[in-house]
Homo-oligomer: 116 residues x 2
DNA sequence: CCGAATCCTCAGGGATACTG
DNA sequence: CAGTATCCCTGAGGATTCGG
């Protein structure tokens, strides 16, 4: 264990780890889900949909998702500015599994309700 | 945005966020996946399967998964000691979606190979 | 309206040594 | 073998201010 932490071959080629690094973080799951539900959302709309996020994290997270080719960013050069975000095809491919995960979460939340 | 960060109702009841908090972190995805692949793994076997993990994180992560009722911990009171980990039913319910995610990751990794 | 730029905090994680 | 116990550090994320 823990020798040569970086460049570890197991980690480098593990698709589970690969995928989790791409959708990990505090907000990526919810952003992908909301974009799926609404098809298109503007920057400000996303911000209101995630009440606990700061502009810094919103921008940063959107950039990462864009670089990983999970979302599209469409800029309207108007005044006032307008930017729309939507899922790419690759991003859409993640939806079935986020749906699965959400259903699981709903079930667990219900179970926890039962106890109280 | 960012007023009253904690106890935000949207976050408290969002099942997507709920689920991601339970399977987030650096190792949980891989641990669940390996436990699914092997059915039962001992502490040391898990450690060898995740070459980049430390004993501290391995123990800590296993405890969290156990508290969330995703894995079973079975202790054999022998010398030398022996502890086996396996998925609970609730944990098994996550497998279809981790499978989905893994397939997605494999496909992305292939695409990245193509470019090089 | 949609960010960029700073500065800062803190918790997730790492290294190392020790134990029943 | 299967952990504990410490100490430590990095980087994800937060608060605030400024700009086109």
């Amino acid at each position: 264990m823990q020798k040569k932490r970086k460049e570890c071959p197991e980690v480098a080629t593990c698709s589970v780890d690969y995928a989790f690094r791409r959708i990990g973080g505090k907000y990526k799951g919810r952003i992908l889900w909301y974009l799926h539900e609404h098809s298109i959302l503007r920057y400000g709309e996303l911000g209101r949909t995630l009440p606990d996020i700061t502009t810094k994290m919103l921008t940063q997270t959107l950039r990462e998702l864009e670089i990983d080719n999970l979302i599209n960013r469409k800029v309207y050069h108007e005044v006032p500015p307008k930017v729309e975000y939507s899922l790419t095809e690759v991003g859409e491919e993640l939806i079935p599994f986020i749906t699965h995960l959400k259903e699981w979460g709903d079930k667990q939340l219900e179970r926890e309700q039962m106890k109280n």
